[in-house]
Amino acid sequence: MNSPHHKRILIFLLTSVGLIVLPHSVNIPPALFGFFSLMLGWRFACVWRPQYLPTVRVLFFLTMLALVLLLSQHRHLLGRDAGTNLFILALGLKLLEIKAERDIYLVTYLAFIVAASLFLYEQSLFMAAYILAVCCVLFATLVAINSLQIHTRAALKTATVIVMQAIPLTVIIFILFPRVEAPRWMLFEEKNKAKIGLSDSMEPGSISDLGTSEELVFRVKFTGDIPPPKLRYWRGPVLSYTDGKRWTQVRFKAPVANPSYAGTAYSYTLLMETQEKDWVFGLDLPAQFSNPLVQNGYYQLINLENPHKRAEYQITSYSQYNTGNLTRSEYQTSIQLPREPSDKIKQLVTQLHGFDSKPDALIQQILNHFRQEDFHYTLTPPLMEDNPIDSFLFSTKRGFCSHYASAFVYLMRVAHIPARVVTGYQGGQFNRVGNFLEIRQANAHAWAEVWLENQGWVRVDPTAAIAPERIEQQLNLDQLELGGDIRFDAGDAKQLNWLKQTRQLWENADYQWQRWVVNYDSNNQSDFLSQFGIHDFKTMMQWLMTLVGLMTVILSGFLLYQKKKATDPVLRLYQQFCQKLQAAGLTRTDREGAVDFAHRATTALPEHAEIIEEITTAFIQLRYGRVTTREDFGKFAKLVAGFKLNNRKP
């Protein structure tokens, strides 16, 4: 195993193994990654210094060490993390024990399994491209083993070409291979990384930083009309109970009454990223939706079945709706206050004609109050621990959406008007390339809902009332602007610089990738295939077989078709010469070499001996000689052309 040939194969193999395990450095415990790196480094050193390869005893010790490491991390060997670690350690140990060609194959196969395990952690387009590239290197290792001479580039090229040729077939199988959900017992712990998101309670006074994360929450693709920015409110948990500081949900199982809808129907596909809650943020107000979604008493959509997975939902919403009358218990929860409001607040409500005017008039009064008084919008408000509503309204006057929404609802309730806080997302950035909206954590928002006679619940967004010049946080400004709340200069928002455009292009590719590849489950599959009239398992299999067969035929045609007339021009000229001699009754047999034939020909035609020999020598030089030039060929061609038999029979 020490010839230069094997050295190069080993370098190839170790490099590709290193490349495969590298992205796992963020997924596996540092101790295990360190162990693997040590094994790999050791093996790399042994390519040049084979005497340092571990003995059987050392290997045994290393194996024990690996097992102890593994058990200290997991205590069992099932599940994604433990399984991945097991394969990586096995790969590391096997590297030190490469003795025969068989072991190289085993290492390669283990590396493929580790590559698959990477997808259990990350399914991005980038990761897929990376793995594809490393697969080419792994296959190139096999090419190198099976070649007589190793040219690194040639091996890589061969492997890449074959992998590329395999891609159409892969796509066909991917589309048509039946997707069946694995039975429950087979699912090991599938913990999803906790994602930051909205929580089921809100405590404006105790938060001093919110919603600056650019993390994607969901994407929406509309099939028809796209709602204008001011209507893009994505409904999340409704908070109707407050203890003065904290706002929490009160559970209602199902909507009390079905609202009546009017206006434009917005149909869309909502692609939810993974989250730890079971909420789906429908456009205010979702009317039609399919399983597994249900609606709770606050018209919020909930996925009860498998909420933590990234999933796609078809929803239709209406921007105009009437939720009808309130029930008694609903009314009670919607005017609930923890204690008698302070005199200052009562005074403010009185001042705003809260007790002697219509509810809609009060709404305008309060919004005007926010607008005219010295209220500021900021993402980093001062903490208001003790009496947050009072502090906010009368002393600090700084806050973000939650402060405004909670203060607004509180004031409405003081005036005995049913009101509640709605949390969710607002706005979203439109991706022009992919024609969809992206809603990020930074779009998190809180607004208010007020119940009005004959109108039902009506959305009021007090944050929108803040005077634009008082907005302190530049980052969020961009969001609000895109959301349509605040407009400074309409031209600015429309301008897209190339950086933004590139980002949108990428986001679009990523969206399509998530939608069509990562998210391609049995539902998507049957939807997609039914467009082509494939409805049942049997036709699916028939199509699979037919297309794979067709692809094979195309590929074999492409690979195996060779031009018939590809013979050497030198040989063709020589054959012309032979044909001329045939006229004299001299036929070159298959087994007769050029020299033998020339000998026979000169004996038979002594008068042509000189030229026959000249042609034969030139032919041998051109066909078998080491150095041939274009002039040589020209000379040969002239000789053959000029060769003529005398008519005189010998």
Partner: protein
């Protein structure tokens, strides 16, 4: 003689190797991982590897298809030596053949550039005199990944002539009476092998008794009676020592070799044939052929 054989789909067989079987197992494991975790990218990787595995069949086939294989010359050998068969392999296409193998008893590797040819000499051990058939020549390839084994068994009607194994016994040439009275010549005593004498400068190199020299017994010249005129022996089947035909032929073979080396004119008398005394490469071959084919 044999025609050239072009390797086409009728002649090329393909089966997965053990390593190919291993990859099949890998695909099953990957499919299971993809299924359990319901992970589409794991599915994608599985299908990619499965597709590569599948089209490797085509590539392995392609690594051999179109080759033109032709049996070439053979060289006669003595029994016990390995007979060599020349096999010409021509690559008439514009594709490179990075790794081909051919075997009779032991595999040999080679590669072919586009539009080029090579000649591989395959050896097959011999035991018996007579015609030795090449048997089945197998051209095979596992290129590019070693996952599939494509092979083409080729039977050429080509034979190598195997001469009897020369006896190891050092016997002097037989003292034969005139083998052919009709000719009326009796060279007995005239140009006969007389004995050995220590080498002296000037002795013909052809007369050196190489066997003795090889055994480290010193340099001896073979001496012939008759004053330098060509000696002549009759190598007679009946006078050759041995219990059976093979032993006798073996002894005759030894004598033919020795006589040719010693530059003696020798005639061969076999039960079915008689070759007049002569020497030289042609005669030598004729005699050995007669011995081989008796």
């Amino acid at each position: 003689m044999d025609d050239a054989i072009t390797l086409t789909h009728r002649r090329i067989f393909i089966l997965p190797t053990k390593r190919g079987g291993g990859m099949g197992l890998l695909i099953v494991i990957l499919l299971l991982i993809a299924f359990v975790y319901n992970n589409n990218l794991a599915y994608l990787l599985t299908f990619l590897i499965a597709s590569v595995f599948f089209i490797t069949i085509l590539h392995t086939f392609k690594s051999m298809a179109g080759l033109v294989v032709q049996a070439g010359q053979t060289k006669a050998v003595f029994a016990g030596e390995a007979a060599g068969f020349d096999i010409h392999i021509d690559n008439p296409n514009a594709v490179e053949r990075p790794h081909l193998q051919i075997k009779l008893s032991k595999p040999q590797s080679f590669f072919l550039n586009p539009h080029s040819k090579t000649t591989q000499t395959l050896y097959s051990p011999t035991q018996k005199r007579g015609w030795h058939n090449a048997g089945t020549v197998t051209v095979f390839s596992t290129y590019p990944f070693g996952l599939f084994y494509a092979w083409s068994p080729l039977r050429f009607n080509t034979n190598a002539l195997v001469y009897p194994k020369p006896s190891t016994l050092e016997l002097p040439f037989p003292e034969t009476p005139s083998a052919d009275a009709e000719l009326g010549v009796n060279h007995k005593g005239a140009d006969d092998f007389y004995g050995l004498q220590e080498y002296q400068a000037g002795d013909s190199i052809k007369h050196i008794h190489w066997k003795a020299f090889a055994k480290g017994q010193g340099i001896f010249s073979k001496q012939y009676s008759g004053n330098g005129t060509a000696a002549e022996v009759w190598l007679h089947y009946d006078y050759a020592a041995g219990h059976d035909t093979e032993q006798r032929l073996s002894q005759l073979c030894r004598w033919v070799i020795d006589a040719e080396r010693a530059d003696i004119r020798y005639g061969l008398v076999l039960p079915n044939l008689k070759l007049m005394p002569d020497n030289g490469a042609n005669h030598y071959r004729q005699c050995l052929e007669a011995l081989a084919l008796l």
